[in-house]
Structures are given as structure tokens and as C-alpha cells.
């Protein structure tokens, strides 16, 4: 393995490592526009030029492999001069419209100018006029005057999305990113070109002009859009409530995870966050009075719920109660659900599987047909008893009547269709709906308990491969809503079971001690990249 010295620091790296990769490991910043670890090497922006001993010309760090004994510097006058020269070239025709540019604050022209430029402008010519603010797809807008022609977006549509919508047209100073004839940048990964654009050339139509990036707080999370569990950052505006029509979550960005999504997320996931600040959010407990739902405070609501559960149990036994949990809930939520309803109340009719009439499919990249983030977790936590089959009850359309349904975060009307959903709900004397947003199903419930969304809670999801990954609350639960596990704890406390959990972390400790598949896991072990469940024995039939 070759040993390289960069700025007097030495490092031994595997064969084939490039200088830019080695420098990253040494925490030495080499500026770059065209280089992106997820794309092929273009070597054209010329920002990463470095000086290598015994080589007369500066070399691009992105395309130069380390050899044993190589001595590299990024600090010589020659390198500094070349890099600031390249930066000057990039800026001469740039419109310098930072005050109205969405990229300001996360723009690598700004960033590198402060670090490697700081030259005075000596451009005395008229700047080249180009296409501005062109809508090139449902999610992306293009400003070719701001473009540095790094070709990351072009390589992305060639190599990652393989959708080939854009290219560089013309040559020399007239070069421009354009849509190919009769093409629209419309593929399920189009939002990623905004992430990888180092400047303000490609901006996100959804985020554009909603909030300055320096007002955003960031929380590591996991997309709830499908069972892939792409790692994301939830970016929320907590300082300027009047921006973005009062929305708190302003955007989701992909977060690198080598094992799951690398640098990318799909557009369905990326733009699927709107429900979090939607007016349909449930922000207080509600109870049906006649045709209307009337607000309640939490202690009254909890008493009402527990009272109805006790009543149903007394009248028809545990068998008259059905609990429908949700693969949208965290492992912690599901564990407390199982503990209260299953263990402490002895209800064994617990399931989460609702047949969905809307058939969804995988794409051949990240998106999975199962649009729930925690199906695997729900299977591990709720189904290890086996036995109960909700689907059979739903599909048999029996006339059997039940006492009470406790339904979590599932819009039955949407999934089953209006008639089957109403028929199923009609089999129950009393329906409690626990969820984050109002929907047709919640409107049919007798009691509605408001739950927080995934962006508002700490916890874990288990993706389809059995990878347990942590999510962190980026914002507070809206209104009086509570994390689902806290809702259940409230009911449990009212029913006389005090679990004493202070945090999701404490729930997880007990989960790991109780559920076989999670044995040995802890938040520390899961870390920021997640950890796979140990291979488990198949449940004997």
C-alpha cells in the first residue's frame, strides 16, 4: 500500500486511492466543483490542482492516483495562484446575484472565494447573457448564468438516474447546460441534481425563496417514504416563522450512507414531507359528539379511551378488541403498543397489515413497493406471537361484531376503499384513531388521539434489510400531539401501569432486552449508519 505525504502529513492508503481521497482522510481541504465521489471523474473544473514533487505541471487531485513516496502540496504559491486563477475565471461571467440566489449560504463559489480567492474583480468586459430561471422539470429550475459547467448534473442523469435528459450544448464560452430536445428533467431522482450542483444553477422549485439556508436547523433522520430507509436530514426553519407560509420543515436532504442510499434519495421521499405541517394535522384529542368531533384535553381523552377499552373487555373479553398498529410507527412506538395492549391488557388480536388496493411498485433503484419505513420492525415486534390474521377478518366481510378497535396511523378508507372500510369499522362498537393527520378514517372514529410525525420524534426504523436506523426529532410535536409511544404510555398510566419511560432511548433498552431479534442492540451500536438485525431463525410454522 502506497504512502503519500500531503502538506507534510503522511498517510498509507490502499492502491488506487486518489490524492483528493487521501487528502480528505487527512482533513486537508482540496477545493473542487466537478469531482463528486458518486460520479465518474471529469477533471475539468481544474480547481483541485496540486503540486507533486518531480512533476513539472500541476496535476488534478481528483484524477491522480497516489504512488508510494509521492509528496504533494496544496499550499505552494504555484498552487494557490492556479486555484485562485481558476476561481477568477469561474466568477468573471457569474452574475454575482447572491442576494436573490437561493444557493447563497451553501454555495461553493462563495465558500471557495472566501477561502481561496479574495481577489478584486478585474473583469472589464460585459458579462455573457444566458438563459435564466428556466423550469426544466417538475422540481428543478435552471439558471445557466450561475452555472460553472462542472457537469455533475449531466453525469448524474447519465450514470445514476440513467435518464439522460440534460447535456452541455455549444462550445467554449457559449457552453450551456440544456435539456435535450423534447426532454423534461422528470425522473424520480431529479431532486438530486440540486443537491450536487455546487452553485445556484440548479435550484429546487419546492424550496426556492421559502427560507434562507442559514435559518435552517438540521436533524439526522430516515425517510419514511418506503422500506429502503434512505438516510436524510430534516431541515427545519425554527427562526423565521413567517417564512415559507409558516411551514417548519422546509426540505429534506439526503444523508450519505454507503450501505443504504449512498448520496441519493428519490423525489417521492424528498417531497413527501408536506403532511408534517399540513393544516390537516391533529393537534388535540377529539371526541365524536353527534356528527361533530369536539376537542378534549389529554387526561379526559385518556380516561375516555381506557374506560372504553375496559368496558369492551368486561363485556366481550379480550377477544372483542382489535389493535391495528402501523408500519409507519417506530420500533419504540410498536414495542410500547405491544407491551400495553398485548402484555398488560392481554389482547392478542394485534396486527398492522392492511391489504392495500393501490398497487405500488419498486423502481429499479431506491424506491420500494412497500411505502412504509418500518414493516420489518413491526414484523419483529408484533408478529413474534403469530396467530392473529387481520386480513382474514377484513376480506371475509364477516358479520362478526367486536367491541373496540384501536387503530394507529392507517387510513383504511384510502387503503381498502370507502365501502369495505366503512363495513369493517361498522363491526366495532367503538373506534379509537391514533394518528398525526386527519383523514376520512379518522373522521369515522369515536375518539381521535393526536400523534407526532416521524420528524418530531426520536426513535428507530428497521428497513427491509433489517437495518435498524435512528431518527432524531428535528422539531417539536405540533400542538398537543405526542409521540405515539407517549400516547400509549398515557393510556397505560391511566389504566394503572406506570412504565416510567423518560425517553425513546429507555424504551429501546427494554425493547432490546425483550424482543429476540433486537437482542444486543443499543443506540450507541446503531450509531449514525444503522445496524443490521442479527440473522434470525425463521419462525417455525
Amino acid at each position: 500500500m502506497p504512502t503519500v505525504t500531503i502538506n507534510q502529513k503522511s498517510l498509507t492508503v490502499p492502491e488506487g486511492t486518489t490524492i483528493i481521497q487521501a487528502a480528505e482522510q487527512l482533513n486537508i481541504e482540496i477545493p473542487r466543483y466537478c469531482y463528486h465521489p458518486g460520479l465518474s471523474i471529469a477533471g475539468s473544473c481544474r480547481m483541485c490542482l496540486v503540486e507533486i514533487e518531480k512533476m513539472p505541471k500541476l496535476q488534478p487531485a481528483c484524477n491522480t492516483r497516489v504512488t508510494d513516496g509521492m509528496v504533494v502540496t496544496t499550499q505552494s504559491p504555484k498552487v494557490k495562484e492556479a486555484v485562485s486563477g481558476v476561481l477568477e475565471f469561474l466568477l468573471i461571467n457569474h452574475p454575482l446575484d447572491c442576494p436573490v440566489c437561493d444557493q447563497a449560504g451553501e454555495c461553493y463559489l462563495q465558500e471557495y472565494y472566501m477561502k481561496f480567492g479574495l481577489h478584486d474583480s478585474r473583469m472589464n468586459e460585459n458579462k455573457i447573457k444566458r438563459h435564466k430561471a428556466e423550469v426544466i422539470g417538475p422540481h428543478v429550475i435552471l439558471d445557466t448564468e450561475r452555472c460553472v459547467l462542472c457537469s455533475r448534473c449531466v453525469r448524474f442523469v447519465r450514470e445514476v438516474s440513467r435518464s439522460h435528459e440534460i447535456g452541455i450544448f455549444n462550445r467554449g464560452g457559449q457552453s450551456e447546460i440544456r435539456l435535450l430536445p423534447d426532454q423534461v428533467l422528470d425522473n424520480n431522482y431529479s431532486g438530486n441534481v440540486v443537491d450536487i450542483c455546487p452553485v445556484g444553477a440548479l435550484t429546487d422549485r419546492d424550496f426556492r425563496f421559502q427560507c434562507r439556508v442559514w435559518y435552517l436547523s438540521k436533524a439526522d433522520s430516515v425517510c419514511n417514504g418506503c422500506s429502503r430507509g434512505c438516510n436524510i436530514t430534516v431541515e427545519a426553519n425554527r427562526q423565521r416563522a413567517h417564512h415559507g407560509e409558516g411551514r417548519r420543515v422546509m426540505r429534506l436532504k439526503p444523508r450519505f450512507n454507503k450501505e443504504v442510499n449512498r448520496w441519493w434519495i428519490c423525489d417521492i421521499g424528498r417531497y413527501g414531507y408536506k403532511f408534517i405541517d399540513d393544516p390537516s394535522r391533529l393537534i388535540q384529542p377529539l371526541e365524536k359528539q353527534g356528527d361533530e368531533l369536539e376537542p378534549l384535553d389529554w387526561s379526559t381523552a385518556a380516561e375516555r379511551a381506557v374506560g372504553r377499552i375496559r368496558e369492551a373487555k368486561q363485556r366481550g373479553g379480550a377477544g372483542s378488541i382489535v389493535i391495528v398498529a402501523s408500519p409507519q410507527l417506530t420500533n419504540e412506538d410498536l414495542f410500547v403498543t405491544r407491551k400495553f395492549f398485548g402484555v398488560d391488557l392481554g389482547i392478542d388480536q394485534i396486527d398492522f397489515r392492511i391489504p392495500d388496493k393501490n398497487t405500488l411498485s419498486d423502481d429499479d433503484f431506491l424506491l420500494r413497493a412497500d411505502r412504509n419505513p418500518n414493516t420489518r420492525g413491526a414484523e419483529a415486534i408484533l408478529l413474534d406471537g403469530g396467530g392473529f390474521d387481520l386480513q382474514r377478518i377484513i376480506e371475509s366481510a364477516s358479520t362478526q361484531s367486536f367491541g373496540l378497535l384501536y387503530l394507529c396511523e392507517q387510513d383504511l378508507v384510502k387503503k381498502l376503499g370507502s365501502e369495505p372500510a366503512r363495513r369493517f369499522l361498522g363491526q366495532f362498537d367503538y373506534v379509537i384513531y391514533q394518528g398525526s393527520n386527519e383523514n376520512e378514517t379518522s373522521g369515522l372514529a369515536n375518539l381521535v388521539l393526536p400523534a407526532a410525525t416521524y420528524a418530531e420524534v426520536n426513535g428507530t426504523f428497521t428497513n427491509f434489510e433489517g437495518r435498524v436506523q435512528r431518527i432524531h426529532a428535528g422539531i417539536e410535536p405540533l400542538g398537543d400531539s405526542l409521540p405515539a409511544w407517549r400516547v400509549i404510555c398515557k393510556l397505560a398510566q391511566t389504566a394503572g401501569f406506570d412504565y416510567g419511560y423518560e425517553s425513546a432511548a429507555e424504551v429501546f433498552v427494554e425493547l432490546a432486552q425483550t424482543v429476540t431479534e433486537f437482542e444486543g442492540l443499543s443506540y450507541e451500536k446503531i450509531g449514525s449508519e444503522g445496524m443490521k438485525l442479527p440473522e434470525t431463525q425463521p419462525v417455525p410454522a
Binding site: 484524477n63 475565471f89 472589464n124 459547467l149 455549444n170
Partner: protein, 426 residues
């Protein structure tokens, strides 16, 4: 008349058919190679000859061939660069027009030497007539068994495909050419890997200029030592010098390497037209640093021209007289390179356009004197920072013209007109 290696038999006529070509000893070298020599022996002979690439860079041809892997699972390609895009250059054209089979014989010998059975001949789009000549010549060679299967009963096969470019300067750069040949935009490739390892379609590829390949024939005929002796040490053979500009007899002259520039201008090109005074000479195509009238005693070989800070380049000798405005001349060149930059690398894409715009203002007298130094600094920042040498090609003339003829540039800035008489108001 000195001894020739290329245009020996075509001083007074052209050899346009296989029969005519064979009457002058044509295809004897190929026969010798295929029936008596091993590929390595051919390479050794070419190494001995001191032949250096005639495209402009002057890389030793034998050494280039020896970089092609001997044992390759992939096919190996020979690619002929006939893009001839450097302004001031018209030598490949002369070979094609006068003796196309010399090129085809050179191609066959060279392809055999590097172990290739497929050759692509890339010719600039503007050379339509020349492409038609080659098309006919290739067909003729196939008919006579000098191309195709089992050439001269040797078991060696070679196919030659003619491909016309679409008129971009940058497609004369070998990797830009390969991209273009593959049907892509002519963007030079990042190196490494070099074409010898991964060239056309990712296979080992040897790219040679027309003049280089034509020279191989006489090297085989007469031996490497004979060829080397024609020129100067490390600069074997003869060179086609394309003399244009203010001379009495512009034209393409085959002369030995190392001949003094003065001799080219005065002994062969007939001296200055209308007996005007010589002001400057571009020795090797528009991209090389210009020489002043005081520098024409230089020997025209790669090393001697480099020693005085210019380049022998493509052999395009442009002679400039005292009536020429050097500001206008430079502006013309700057416009060319701004137009021809492929736009891939930042310094070239932005720098060529910036230089063009500022030089336009200098020419019009609408610039400050300090901007002359700024132009030099822009040119400096472009040099050595890009994937291919186009940025250098644009920057080198700028630097040399302003350094050597600074007073003319200052005159423009100060007086809004030329100091070349008769003065023309701009």
C-alpha cells in the same frame, strides 16, 4: 535540391493509382516488412530513424509505438490524424493530393508494427476533395490486395475506414479526435489513461499524423540510419514546411530538419513579397510563440526552436511583413481560439473569451495601458492548467506578441490607431 523522403517522386506529377505508385517503387517497403520483418524490427528501425511526430508535439514515433501493449485481449487500433486544423498548416493535404498511396503504405507498415488490423483515417470535414481522393485510393488498394485480407500472401489483414470530421479544431487533439470518432462531442480526454492503453472504444490505440506515417515508408526503404542522417541529431529526416504570408513563393516545401528559417524564407519561398521588410515569423502554426525578424537564423528542428522559446509545431510557417498590425494579427488568433475552445476546462473556456474581448478593446483603443499586463496575467493563468494544450495554444501567442511587439499594443491604447504605416483609423 536536398534529398527527399516524402515527395521524392511527385515533384512534377501526382501518383494517383496503384499502378503509377508501384512504377516508382511503391509498396516495396510494405512487401519487405510483411515478408521479411517482425513487428519489433519495424519499431526498432523507426526508433533508429529519429522520426518524431509531425502533428506538432514531436514525440518520438518509435517510442509511441512501443507503448502499445504486445499482448492485448482487446483489438488494437491505428488511428490516422488528418484533421490538420492548426492554422497555417497544409502538409497532410499535399501528401493526400499528390501521393495518397504513400500514406496508405505507411499506414499498413505502421499498423503491422503495432499489431493492429483496423485503421481509422480521420480527415477534417473541410477536406472534401481530399477525402474523395482517399476513398478512391483505399478502394484501389483493396482491389490490388494492399488492403484487406492476407496482404501480399503474408497472412496479415488490415481494414482502413475513412471518417470525415465536422470541422472542429479540437478534434485534431488526439483524444478529442477519438471522442469524435466514437460519435461523441470532441472533448479531449483526461489522461491517464493514455490512448496506447485505453484509446478508441477503450482499446489500445496508436494515433499518428499523416506526415509521420508517410515518412515511415522511406525509413523502411532506405533504413533508419539514412533517414536520421537527413536531419539533425534527435530530429531525423525531412519536414514539410507550409510557408504562407508575405513571401514571393508561398507553398509546402519538403526540407531537411534543422534547415535555418532564413533559408526557408529567402532560398525556397523566394524572399519577401514586394521586397517589404520582414517583421515577424510564426514558425509552427498559429499557436506557437512568434519570432521576430532577428530570430530567423534558428535551425528548424524541434529542439533548436524550443531553445529560443518557440515551437516547431505543425510546420506552418507564417511570414509577416512590416505592414502588418500585430495587434490585429493577435486579435484574429485570439478570436480563433475563443471560437474553438471546447469549453470543458474552466481556464480555457473562460480565458479564451476574456482574452478575445479585452484584445478587441485594445485594438479599438478602448482599453487602459494597465490592461496589457492584465492580458498577460490572464494568459499566464491559462497555461498548464487544462486537460489539453488548447489553453496553452491560445495563451502562448498572446504572451509572445505582447512581449515582443509591446510598443504596437501601447500605441493602439494611446492613439486609438495603428503605428503601422499607412496608419489606419479604427
Amino acid at each position: 535540391m536536398p534529398e527527399l523522403a516524402l515527395l521524392t517522386h511527385v515533384q512534377h506529377r501526382n501518383l494517383m493509382t496503384v499502378e503509377e505508385y508501384r512504377q516508382t517503387g511503391g509498396y516495396e517497403a510494405l512487401r519487405k516488412v510483411l515478408l521479411e520483418m517482425k513487428p519489433d524490427q519495424v519499431i526498432e528501425e523507426v526508433k533508429k530513424s529519429g522520426l518524431r511526430g509531425r502533428g506538432g508535439a514531436g514525440f518520438p514515433t518509435g517510442m509511441k509505438w512501443s507503448f502499445i501493449p504486445k499482448n492485448s485481449e482487446k483489438p488494437k487500433y491505428m488511428v490516422v490524424n488528418s484533421d490538420e486544423s492548426e492554422p497555417g498548416t497544409c502538409k497532410d493535404r499535399v501528401i493526400i493530393e499528390k501521393t495518397p498511396f504513400l500514406l496508405l503504405e505507411g499506414i499498413a507498415i505502421s499498423s503491422y508494427a503495432v499489431g493492429s488490423s483496423t485503421c481509422y483515417l480521420y480527415i477534417r470535414g473541410e477536406y472534401y476533395d481530399q477525402a474523395m481522393i482517399l476513398k478512391q485510393a483505399i478502394e484501389d488498394a483493396y482491389r490490388h490486395g494492399f488492403l484487406g485480407k492476407n496482404i501480399l500472401g503474408s497472412g496479415y489483414n488490415l481494414d482502413v475506414y475513412l471518417h470525415r470530421g465536422a470541422g472542429a479544431y479540437i478534434c485534431g487533439e488526439e483524444t478529442g479526435l477519438l471522442e469524435s470518432l466514437e460519435g461523441k462531442k470532441g472533448w479531449p480526454r483526461l489522461k491517464p489513461p493514455f490512448p496506447a492503453i485505453s484509446g478508441l472504444y477503450g482499446c489500445p490505440t496508436c494515433v499518428n499524423n499523416v506526415e509521420t506515417l508517410a515518412a515511415v515508408v522511406s525509413i523502411i526503404q532506405n533504413g533508419g540510419d539514412w533517414y536520421a542522417a537527413l536531419g539533425t541529431p534527435k530530429n531525423g529526416g525531412t519536414r514539410l514546411f507550409c510557408v504562407s504570408g508575405h513571401v514571393k513563393k508561398p507553398g509546402t516545401y519538403e526540407l531537411p530538419m534543422g534547415i535555418p528559417l532564413r533559408s526557408i524564407i529567402y532560398d525556397y519561398a523566394g524572399g519577401m513579397k514586394d521586397d517589404r521588410k520582414l517583421k515577424a515569423v510564426i514558425p509552427g502554426g498559429s499557436s506557437v510563440p512568434i519570432l521576430t525578424a532577428d530570430e530567423i537564423d534558428v535551425k528548424m528542428d524541434f529542439d533548436s526552436v524550443a531553445a529560443i522559446g518557440s515551437l516547431l509545431g505543425s510546420g506552418g510557417v507564417v511570414v509577416i511583413n512590416e505592414d502588418t498590425c500585430m495587434v490585429k494579427a493577435l486579435l484574429r488568433i485570439a478570436r480563433f481560439y475563443a471560437h474553438e475552445s471546447c469549453g470543458q476546462c474552466t481556464p480555457c473556456r473562460e480565458g479564451t473569451t476574456w482574452l478575445k474581448k479585452t484584445l478587441q478593446r485594445v485594438y479599438e483603443g478602448d482599453a487602459r495601458q494597465a490592461e496589457l499586463d492584465q492580458v498577460l496575467s490572464i494568459a499566464f493563468n491559462m497555461m498548464g492548467t487544462t486537460i489539453c494544450p488548447l489553453a496553452d495554444a491560445a495563451a502562448m501567442p498572446v504572451r509572445s506578441y505582447i512581449q515582443k511587439f509591446r510598443h504596437e499594443f501601447e500605441y493602439h491604447v494611446q492613439h486609438k490607431c495603428c503605428d503601422v504605416k499607412p496608419a489606419v483609423r479604427i
